[in-house]
């Protein structure tokens, strides 16, 4: 605090901060509506391929009426995605990663 109270001989220059996203990448882009559209489409794609985690997330919501309804919807959704074969990539990736984690030096992965 002493340091901050101590007056400078000359005022410090204004904050010099480089933008994290440089100007050349900010020249083109979209609108807030497009951001919303991307977020919605992305969420649907995520819900399709990660339906297993959606079901387990809903189970942690508690046992209120709304939570129970959400759990039922998430479970039905997961079953539907399973019938479509969309949970398979998730399971294959999880299994492959488990093998990588167990991989030891001198043994094949």
């Amino acid at each position: 605090m002493v340091a901050i109270e101590r007056e400078l001989v000359q005022p410090a220059t204004a904050a010099i901060s480089a933008d994290a996203i440089p100007l050349k990448l900010r020249r083109t882009g979209g609108t807030p509506r497009q951001v919303l559209a991307i977020a919605v489409v992305g969420t649907i794609a995520l819900a399709m391929f990660a339906s297993r985690d959606l079901a387990s997330w809903s189970e942690r919501l508690g046992d209120g009426p709304a939570a129970l309804a959400a759990q039922k919807i998430a479970a039905d959704w997961d079953h539907a995605m399973e019938r479509l074969g969309l949970v398979r990539p998730h399971e294959v990736l999880r299994d492959s990663l488990r093998r990588l984690l167990d991989w030891q030096w001198g043994a094949p992965p």
Binding site: A14, A20, A37, V41
Partner: protein, 470 residues
């Protein structure tokens, strides 16, 4: 509420919908963002919101008083009181028990029987960050670097904006408040923002999480159970883990702010490729290091008072920078190592020279700086001094036994994390260009699928970001 969770995704969907609906009503958009930020903060503990509100009111009120008077001594008095109150809040919530512990240890050394009681106050998440925002605003108003903020809504959003609220980057008032004066006319940089989010999620969910659980946590918990190779790899692992963890948070925060129509400053720039310790601090947690430079090092006199005072100021700044990270002697030791290193580097400057280094010398310099930073990380990560000492002394032992804990997968993660320090910016630009050419639905679907892949690769549940505790 953590970024890589379903809860946060649903929260962001609602915020994005409201922001899209209020595209042409800037004041309403700011009000929605303040409400969303307080909801976000209340997810940790709703009582923290009162603290954030008090800190905001203090900054706003003191700023108005400083701006209303031309009397220099009165301005200085108000600044001193307001900064003192900000630091007082931080001191009570973050450092009081540390001072009680230190006082009790001193009393024990002096043979005194009486011990002060611990208050065990819950540390409010992000208090260090919003306190620094408040101090930055008041100091800038006092110096005349930023206009007084007369709109309480703008001040509330500056102090609470949820992407940076709990772990930065520390955004200066002079940088952020002008963005609140009028709506941005720039398009939303969707493609680079999406890339930052996806890259950040990969760094946090895959690299940082597996390095923590597969190597760093077990080795730092019992360093005497492991030989030199595991200890060395755990040190490298922690260097990569903390970078991936913290820079991931910053990247996601920057991207979320961009998607909501605001610019944030850069916070990381491939820090482990630095060839000087000074350069490391120009690349690591840039918003904190520049804050410390402008509000501590320079007011202390910077390099204006001769060599010895420069060394003292460097040491003092980094010591306080260490203390900012937490109420523990190990953080002070970490700061002292960096401050001492910077002072020694400054001392050696006439010998090190300022001319360009040869390619071999550049590699040697990068390796030396990286290992010095790793040494300091051991103190930062270890539970206490005793563990750090055991850890360092154990590095010379057990080399014949080879590695026990670090499997090929975690070693590959360390290699990926370090390789990322040397990639070209052009790679990011090209990827952003490819994203930009995609239609909106394609970009959304691609992002959703990549997040699903990262989610499948990550462990069940996500650990909090390391910098939440600071």
């Amino acid at each position: 509420m953590l970024f890589p969770t379903t809860h946060f995704l649903l929260f962001f969907l609602v915020v994005a919908a409201l922001v899209a609906a209020l595209e042409h009503r800037f004041t309403a958009k700011k009000a929605v963002l303040v409400g969303a930020s307080y909801y976000f903060y209340a997810q940790w503990d709703w009582r923290f919101c009162f603290l954030l509100g008090c800190s905001t009111a203090l900054s706003y009120g003191a700023g108005l008083i400083i701006g209303a008077t031309a009397d220099r001594s009165r301005r200085r008095l108000v600044l001193g009181i307001a900064v003192g109150l900000h630091l007082g809040l931080l001191g009570v919530f973050k450092y009081l028990d540390f001072f009680v512990l230190s006082a009790n240890e001193l009393a024990r050394l002096l043979g005194l029987q009486h011990e002060l009681p611990f208050l065990e106050i819950l540390l409010p998440v992000g208090i260090s960050f919003f306190t620094f925002h408040g101090i930055s605003y008041l100091s800038d108003v006092y110096r005349g670097d930023v206009a007084v903020c007369r709109n309480p809504l703008d001040m509330a959003l500056y102090m609470s904006f949820f992407p940076q609220l709990v772990a930065g980057p520390i955004v200066r008032a002079a940088y952020f408040l002008p963005q609140l004066a009028r709506p941005s006319t720039e398009p939303v940089p969707i493609a680079p923002a999406m890339l930052l989010i996806l890259g950040g999620l990969f760094k946090k969910v895959v690299i940082a999480n597996y390095l923590a659980t597969g190597l760093v946590d077990p080795v730092f918990a019992a360093p005497t159970s492991y030989g030199g190779p595991d200890l060395l790899l755990a040190t490298y692992g922690y260097a990569v883990q903390i970078y991936c963890d913290f820079s991931a948070y910053s990247d996601i925060a920057i991207a979320l702010a961009a998607l909501l129509g605001f610019r944030f400053p850069a916070n990381f720039n491939q820090p482990y490729r630095a060839q000087r310790l000074r350069e490391f601090w120009q690349r690591w947690h840039i918003s904190l290091s520049t804050w410390l430079r402008d509000y501590l090092y320079k007011p202390l006199g910077g390099n204006r008072g001769g060599r010895l005072k420069t060394y003292r100021n460097l040491l003092l700044t980094m010591l306080l920078g260490g203390l900012w990270h937490g109420a523990a002697w190990k953080f002070i030791a970490w700061g002292a190592l960096h401050g001492g290193g910077l002072a020694v580097e400054r001392m050696l400057e006439p010998w090190l020279g300022r001319r360009a280094l040869s390619p071999t010398a550049k590699i040697v310099a990068t390796v030396v700086v990286f290992h010095f930073v790793c040494l300091a990380w051991i103190f930062f990560r270890a539970e206490d001094f005793a563990v750090a000492r055991l850890f360092i002394s154990g590095m010379g032992n057990g080399w014949a036994d080879g590695v026990q804990q670090a499997g090929p997968f975690v070693v590959a993660l360390i290699a990926i994390g370090l390789a990322g320090q040397f990639t070209s910016d052009a790679l990011f630009d090209r990827a952003a260009g490819a994203f930009e050419r995609m239609p909106v639905w394609g970009l959304g679907a691609a992002a959703g699928i990549v997040v699903a892949v990262i989610n499948a690769l990550g462990p069940e549940g996500v650990a909090p970001f390391i910098y939440f505790r600071f």
